[in-house]
Symmetry: C2
Subunit: 194 residues, 2 copies
């Protein structure tokens, strides 16, 4: 394992030198595998951070679509004003506001979708499949799959990131949590379109 | 009545030459009186326009307070895209968004305040005055006055314009309706503060 690879990995992931060394060891020197290992570790750490910490700082960011017909206001929260003033954090706020302008999500995460909306969607899916005589457990699996697709449309966190469709918005935020080392979450958003 | 006065009045009010002439006639040549006459006529016209016409065009405008801790998103509506692209209209949107950032109104107009909020406020006012033994009609007048003050705090339209406290926001918008010749109204607004 060369120092050059460690530095390359650090550039790719933003992780610490020691973490990069360990990941390269674990991946047998494969850079992409090592990056993936770091990403998963980072996300695990991010999830732990998210459960424990409080977000009291942050920024309010706006994005107006060029013609002035669509606008988004976003509250992005973090733990300290130090991170709130960081360029990476500001870029994240901008990417999220642009995402919301483009995709028009209705909620932040699936837990925010009201019970009656979920019920209605499920019954509509079941109605659509009423003609197909399938066993109940197969039907349940299909409903589950269609609900996942539904959340991917209406929930910001479940949407694919328009600038990189290999990751969801939740992935994008977790990546920033890993690199900035603080819990980050979308507080509120609001979107007007004329 | 000199042509110079007519031109001066036109510059002051933005009204048409003929209207300025008529107003100066009516005011016996007094410029300020004539401006007041035009203003009232404009507002009467504005009120008529507001009742009759539909607003389907407009812009979404945002204002972020310098520190990024307060943000406002505003939908300002008008009748045509021509007015939506006008600088005066855009300035109005900016003034309104700044007003909302500074004063944090809860509603656009008194009609938007929920009945239970009004009831609660009135009963609180009456409770405060329970000790003062005043006749019912005097009490009613006091409650009315205090409710007007309350609307002036919580309703954008009833607030005094922070950049010119001689007029309310409703006055400001009516002035622009008079000069731009189209119905203008606040569609929605949203304000986040961290």
């Amino acid at each position: 394992m060369s120092t050059q690879d460690v530095v390359k990995l650090r550039t790719m992931t933003g992780a610490g030198m020691l973490d990069c060394k360990k990941a390269l060891d674990e991946a047998g020197g494969d850079l992409d595998k090592a990056a993936e290992i770091l990403r998963k570790k980072g996300q695990a750490k991010a999830a732990k951070k998210s459960a424990e910490r409080e977000t009291k700082e942050g920024i309010v960011h706006s994005y107006i679509h060029a013609n002035g017909k669509v606008g988004v206001l976003l509250e992005l929260l973090c733990e300290t004003d130090f991170v709130a003033r960081n360029e990476v954090f500001k870029e994240l706020a901008h990417d999220l506001a642009m995402q919301i302008a483009a995709t028009d999500p209705l909620y932040i995460k699936p837990e925010d979708v009201p019970e009656e909306v979920i019920k209605k969607e499920k019954s509509m899916i079941k109605e659509e499949m009423a003609d197909e005589s399938k066993p109940a457990d197969v039907l349940d699996k299909i409903v589950e799959g269609k609900m996942a697709k539904y959340y991917e449309e209406i929930c910001l966190m479940n949407q694919l990131f328009i600038k990189d469709e290999d990751k969801t918005i939740a992935d994008l935020i977790n990546d920033k949590i890993a690199s900035l080392g603080e819990k980050i979450e979308v507080g509120r958003f609001c979107r007007f379109s004329i």
